[in-house]
């Protein structure tokens, strides 16, 4: 925003800050940015929905986005599940409600944390990775070269990444749900004196398909956000190593913020419609 002046000169020639002007300029900038993201996303979604497709590219991206994210998603989920169980135990014991640990853990993981943790980890690992790669291709003229070879970057680069993210995120979130619940179970049985069988039966009896579906719907939306933010910022990358680095940072930050914001919006919506 630094190119927009934050001060206006009055008649005496003295610089005075003008917050209204600054707010106006920022708001216009934000609207323009949202417009650009929407236009870009529309193009990529259109390419993903119509032939020609590049199945080879899609599978390659599924491997890169999905398979190599397994360790990071697994590790973060087990720790979150374990910490969640401990906190619920501490809180619950104040009301003598410790026995609800399995119920709250599985609810929290399936509806919120599985998807949010996976979304956030992939905003870092995948979104930044995509935008650094695309940014490097942009600044070394590989994107231009693609166009001259009659392959549109939307189809050959961006749509495969979007499709791969849409397919893999729900699978990763499902795994994160299972591993997160296991983290809670492990700490409850090992440290909090729960009976293993009872804990697991309570978990399975309590969780509903609605809880799981809610998390998986979020996963699909987060998948789109992560892939599109990565491609968008990479595509706009400015020349040089700093330009590419900046694109990676921007895509990570914007994907993470969008994941958290959209998570809240969707949680509200699901409560409204009773999902």
């Amino acid at each position: 925003m630094s190119e927009h002046s934050r001060t206006d000169r009055d008649d005496s020639g003295v610089s005075v800050p003008n917050p209204l002007r600054w707010i106006g300029v920022s708001a216009l900038g934000l609207f323009a940015e949202v417009g650009r993201v929407a236009r870009f996303s529309g193009g990529v979604i259109g390419a993903a929905l119509s032939p020609p497709w590049y199945p080879g590219e899609v599978f390659r991206q599924i491997g890169r986005i999905g398979f190599y994210s397994l360790p990071v998603v697994g590790l973060s989920s087990i720790f979150i599940g374990a910490a969640l169980a401990l906190n619920i135990y501490t809180g619950g014991s104040r009301y003598g409600a410790e026995q609800f640990v399995p119920n709250i853990v599985v609810l929290g993981i399936t509806r919120e944390l599985g998807a949010v943790i996976t979304g956030l980890m992939l905003a870092g690992r995948v979104s930044a990775g995509i935008s650094a790669e695309i940014g490097a291709m942009r600044v070394t003229e590989q994107i231009d070269a693609l166009k001259t070879l009659s392959a549109s970057p939307e189809r050959y680069l961006y749509a495969p990444r979007l499709i791969a993210a849409l397919v893999t995120l729900p699978i990763l979130v499902a795994l994160s749900d299972i591993i997160g619940v296991m983290g809670g179970w492990l700490v409850s049985v090992q440290a909090l004196g729960f009976d293993s069988t009872v804990y697991l039966r309570n978990t399975v009896d309590f969780v509903t398909w609605e809880d799981i579906t809610a998390g998986l719907i979020k996963a699909v939306v987060f998948g789109a956000v992560i892939a599109l933010m990565g491609c968008f910022h990479g595509d706009r990358s400015k020349a040089g190593a700093t330009g590419v680095g900046r694109a990676a940072t921007l895509s990570m930050v914007s994907a993470a913020v969008l994941v958290l914001a959209l998570n809240y919006v969707m949680s509200t919506l699901f409560t409204e419609i009773g999902l």
Binding site: Y54, M137, T140, E141, Q142, D144, A145, L146, K147, T148, L149, S150, A151, S152, Y156
Partner: protein, 254 residues
């Protein structure tokens, strides 16, 4: 001379206050090899990118095979590009793909050629740029700069396009390989009847491959004529450039 295959009419392109092209008029016909000279930073690469539609001109027209393609999009643009080969100054090879996949990219992805067949064709084309089959399975990053340039050249000509742009085809090559590339460019034009626009600072190469030579200076084509007249152009700017003199009408804009 037949009708031009590509025509740029009064093309203007600026980046902010940097007025790069200030009204470029140029055309090239089938079977004609045009060499464009010009100082570093004079806008030669920008001119080629504008002609291809990778950059949109601020003003002016681009006519390809009789049709105005200045703002062409979608299918029309793709059909145009399918008939043009471009060698980028930087090579612009896809570093995630192997050398032969780079060379055969258009065959595999646009023309629907089977991979085995495309590979054969790629190796055959690599041989034309003096590269052996052993490089086919390497990644571009494993090649020297001059080898990358030749792979990029092979990628540009594999489908025998009607029009080829060569952005500094011989830069970074030893004189023997450079001359082989000159022959290859001539072959594209004379044997296959393509039109070619080459950018070069290498006067030996220019003299060998050019039917016509044009000079881009301060955003305009200031001289154009048959290659045989390059030493009798009567233009001080061209003389200074051709003879490589630091002093003369062309001064670095500092």
């Amino acid at each position: 001379m037949s009708a031009p295959l590509l025509e740029l009419k009064d093309v203007i392109k600026s980046f902010g206050d940097n007025h790069v092209l200030r009204g470029v008029d140029i055309d090239v016909a089938r079977g004609c090899s045009l060499v464009v000279l010009g100082g570093s930073g004079s806008g030669k690469s920008v001119m080629l990118k504008t002609a291809l539609g990778l950059m949109t001109p601020d003003d002016g027209k681009i006519i390809f095979d009789g049709a105005d393609v200045t703002f062409a999009g979608g299918r029309e643009r793709e059909e145009m590009r399918a008939r043009i080969g471009m060698l980028f100054q930087s090579g612009a090879l896809f570093d995630s793909l192997m050398v032969w996949e780079n060379v055969a990219f258009r065959l595999i992805h646009s023309d629907g050629v089977k991979r085995a067949e495309a590979r054969e064709k790629a190796i055959e084309t690599l041989r034309k740029v003096h590269l052996g089959p052993s490089v086919a399975d390497l990644r571009p990053a494993e090649l020297s700069g001059g080898m990358q340039k030749r792979v990029a050249l092979a990628r540009a000509i594999i489908t025998r396009p009607d029009l080829v742009f060569f952005d500094e085809p011989t830069t970074g090559l030893d004189p023997i390989t450079a001359d082989a590339i000159n022959d290859l460019i001539l072959d594209q034009v004379k044997a296959l009847g393509a039109a070619a626009i080459s950018i070069t600072h290498d006067m030996a190469s220019a003299r060998k491959i050019a039917d016509e030579i044009a000079m881009l200076h301060q955003g305009r084509i200031i001289w154009r004529g048959p290659a045989s007249e390059i030493d009798r152009s009567g233009n001080d700017h061209v003389d200074q450039f051709v003879n490589g003199r630091a002093h003369g009408p062309i001064q670095p804009s500092l």
